[in-house]
Symmetry: C2
Subunit: 338 residues, 2 copies
């Protein structure tokens, strides 16, 4: 790839698109030109980048001419429809949708975890599901030292995973609740103000798992290179704006102490230990929001496993950053270094 | 006990106290007189009960003269200080605090689960921790048919568990956040608006478990009569007002199918199955709030246990009702029937 590529953001006006723009700017990504693509509805509007107003263009197949790197974040329908055109035009696609994540020819990458997987890409690199990205940031440093045998996860997922409109619905429905007024949900299927609900992704009626849970299982296994890892999971949407939290219980092949687990995180890139028992201070969405690092804490022996093989921890990461835009830009940076 | 006892509520003005009064009224508890006791600060104020204004009296040792049944809900300090006086005056105490829950001479009771344990009481019956009460309502029907070997729980706990002031802080801090204003938490140690945090109970620096988690483990074991049951647990406070949710993974001695687990709940008293995969409709705090029943759903095989021995479920119950006031009044009703 050119050392100063022409970059396109597909879906520039979405919650992730806005963060992609911010990440490129604050990380001083060495692009020669930035092209903002979105639906015809947004065409002609402008967005600010490095002190300039960039005009949004309507996405079409011809949009990718001259583009070296295309960051897609407009849903899997758009990715399926336009990624091939981008690749054909000579761009490398970093795709934030689920369209290609389980395609054997498309690497699924968290750079700190499995960056080497990018080597064989054929024009598309997939950016993982937000929970999978954040969870694997916590799992990989452990797996590097102690073989993982099993995982249990319960998530506390923010509105941002359902997009900017869901974040706004959380705000508006909460304001209505505080005024004592009724509110009819439009974006999400359930009341969100001071409420929580099983993740709204489509439910598989046979297994009773929703699409989010099945994605997290499949993608976590793929990113970790552990295709058989048993993963028990419950995905819950909570009334938080933009950081996902998760209670993880990791079972290892051999006994592992909390101290050993904690040591694994001490120099882990992109991970910040927030594990202060004295002050009762642990990872929180309010601290993770707007932060690149994934916060890891509450590291302790699992009381549910008297064999000493299991460690419990609590992990929080910004859904829009490490769960989406930041990871995509980190993939792009790695592609550039190759 | 007299068939129409004189009943006292200790801590009548608290979040649970108010619900105790409501439960006695709507369940038409056959009391001959209701006495409201609270701190000197509240003395002289009135509360409405069955169309009458009852005047709150300041709690003192002499308050229990003539009282047959004293429902305590004013924290464990008050219970430790005044329960003996109530018993000495001839009252039976139903104590909602943690003061006596692990006292071998005090039964710890969820009537649907271990009502028979009340038989040996010596004047005090303890009402469990809210998570333990709600969780055991879901565990007992399972255990009645299939031996449980292990439990994992991640909780999503409401503000009400920290009292009426915490509920108000959630409302006020959220209103401030929506206005873009700063808010200094006074009741809880962390920002609560659109945030969540590890439960604020005192942390045990050695094990890394907080007091809430240790209570849930000890009390669940005691109520279930399974003193060795391994229970892995993470307790998290979420920005919900008054219903606790929990993701439970139950491991059995033998394989159990989701259908077998579901069947166990079909006639379980106090439990309502909310498990509609077609509509993606499962237990939510907004549905559980103000309801007596504990909602159970998302019953499915645990993907984390390929042996088929584990079932995952999602459970929600009103923290102030089955988690506190309702259970206390149900204990009182059972005492009356004896």
């Amino acid at each position: 790839m050119a050392s100063h590529p022409v970059v396109a953001i597909v879906g520039a006006t979405g919650a992730v698109g806005v963060e992609l723009l911010h990440c490129l700017e604050r990380r001083n990504f060495p692009l020669s030109r930035l092209k903002l693509l979105a639906s015809a509805r947004s065409a002609g509007k402008t967005m600010r980048f490095k002190g300039q107003d960039l005009t949004i263009e309507a996405l079409e197949e011809a949009s990718f001419e001259g583009v070296d790197l295309a960051l897609f974040s407009a849903g899997s329908g758009i990715s399926k429809r336009f990624a091939a055109a981008a690749v054909k035009a000579g761009a490398v696609v970093v795709d934030n949708s689920s369209a290609f994540r389980m395609d054997a020819e498309v690497p699924l990458v968290v750079p700190e975890v499995n960056g080497a997987a990018m080597a064989g890409h054929r024009g598309i690199v997939a950016n993982p599901n937000c929970v999978a990205a954040i969870a694997t940031m916590a799992l990989a440093p452990l797996q590097a030292r102690h073989a993982i045998r099993r995982l249990h996860a319960a998530t506390y997922q923010a509105a941002s995973g359902a997009g900017a409109a869901a974040m706004e619905e959380l705000r508006q429905s909460t304001a209505a609740a505080l005024r004592g007024e009724a509110f009819e949900p439009k974006v999400l299927p359930h009341p969100y103000a001071f409420n929580l609900f099983s993740h709204n992704a489509e439910m598989d009626p046979v297994t009773g798992y929703n699409g989010e849970e099945l994605k997290v299982v499949a993608e976590t296994r793929r990113i970790m290179g552990m295709p058989e890892l048993p993963i028990g999971i419950t995905c819950i949407r909570v009334p938080v704006l933009r950081a996902h939290a998760m209670a993880l219980t990791v079972e290892f092949e051999e006994p592992v102490t909390p101290e050993q687990a904690r040591a694994a995180f001490e120099n882990a890139p992109g991970v910040k230990l927030v594990d202060d028992r004295e002050r009762n201070y642990f990872p929180m969405p309010s601290d993770a929001s707007g932060q690149d690092d994934v916060l890891v804490g509450r590291i302790r022996a699992d009381l549910g496993d008297p064999s000493g093989r299991s460690v419990a921890l609590f992990v929080v990461g910004d859904q829009l950053l490490k769960g989406a835009a930041l990871n995509a830009v980190q993939i792009a940076e790695a592609l550039l270094r190759r």
